[in-house]
Amino acid sequence: MTVQVESYGTLAEVARAIGSGALYLGGGTLVMRDVNAGVAQGRIVRTSDPVLSEVRASGDGVTVGAGVTMAQVMAHRDLGFLAQVARAVGGPQVRNMATVGGNLFAPHPYGDFTVALLALGARVIGAGQGGQRPLEDILRDRARAGLVAAIEVPRPRDPRDFGFLKVSRIKPKGVSVLSVAALLPREGGRIRGARIAFGAMGPMPLRAVAAERVLDGQALDAATIARAVQVATDGLDPPTDALATSWYRREVAGVHLRRLLERMERG
């Protein structure tokens, strides 16, 4: 074992110490796995700064500390709209460990929580001088994302505007064949600002931009859903792995998007 673990009292100290090349250890479900396999080498930094576990609700959103676990998301009264998403991650032990911040860095086919955050239009707050950036920017180059302090999640105006679905072969706990999340805010019966995100349909969670375009400005009805489903995988190149081939993922993605949208149509 050739890792050196450095523990710090505060997140600010970690931000100063992390430098380049060091791994940040959060809940452990990703980094310790690599340590056990001998894949992780060199410096590992960590902190148990309580600021990472804070959840703060404001008018139209919730700021979730990067160290908040899936189990804490499920239990928090301000995060009810994300409870079913957190529940879809791992088994009970993993949910007691895996963090919201770590999920942003989960490699394919993991990272279902991030799929929901992407659909909700979340922003990522960096530690230290990191500032605030759209989640999409972080996902585009995760190796250079820097240290994450918290995630700002806009709350759906109406809980029925947001939907999430995870497809796995093993019940109740299984890895994603794919997951899909949709945010469909409606004004006067028309969708304004549709956001659809897929997980396990690319190297990282990705938006289904073509489907969003079809949905925008329309009422959520059978005809609109059918047109959105037709373009569900436009621009997506899903990977082949032990769970499913690229062909299979492309074939079924529209089916599952249809099921999610129909569920949301029924309200």
């Binding site: 074992m1 050196q4 673990v5 479900t29 056990n36 088994g91 009970p92 032990q93 993993v94 706990k173």
Partner: protein, 157 residues
């Protein structure tokens, strides 16, 4: 390699040992402290054979950094029997819930954590509670039956 002293309360008793840099809690418990009840299955968080509770919550010992549990309360399957077997252990025998037995310590810890939190679980609650523990022998039904029998107070019937 740096060694770090780690003190824990293991099944009610204070224990201390040195942890290697990057050592996981499973190795620390088995090699450092000598509690062989949590098992090494996959080392990557899939099988649940290493399940322990940390301050009452189930965690995977193989994915927990040993030094991060300094001062915490850890319970393993070895702490269940107290002179006599724990009702869950009796029920596992009664219902043939163990065949090869490798998953059993992790199953028992997950089951105990469930019943501590929810003394009257539904079948669905039990299935959910052990969804992070793989068993390749039993097909799960005897395990579910054993846990439900304890919940319903029929363990020694």
């Amino acid at each position: 390699m740096a060694k770090k002293p780690v003190t824990i309360t293991l099944n009610g008793a204070e224990r201390a040992a040195f942890a290697d840099d990057g050592q996981n809690l499973l190795e620390f418990l088995r090699r450092g402290v000598g509690d062989l009840s949590p098992k090494y299955g996959c080392g990557q968080g899939t099988c649940g054979a290493c399940t322990v509770t940390i301050d009452g919550e189930t965690h995977l010992a193989c994915l927990t950094l040993a030094e991060s549990v300094q001062g915490k309360r850890i319970e393993t399957a070895a702490g269940l029997a107290n002179g006599t077997l724990h009702p869950l252990q009796d029920a596992f025998m009664e219902h043939f819930a163990a065949q090869c037995g490798y998953c059993t310590p992790g199953m028992l810890v997950s089951a105990k954590a469930l019943l501590d939190r929810n003394p009257a679980p539904t079948r669905e609650d039990v299935v959910e509670a052990i969804s992070g523990n793989l068993c390749r022998c039993t097909g799960y039904e005897p395990i579910i039956a054993a846990i439900l029998s304890v919940a319903q107070g029929r363990a020694r019937a």
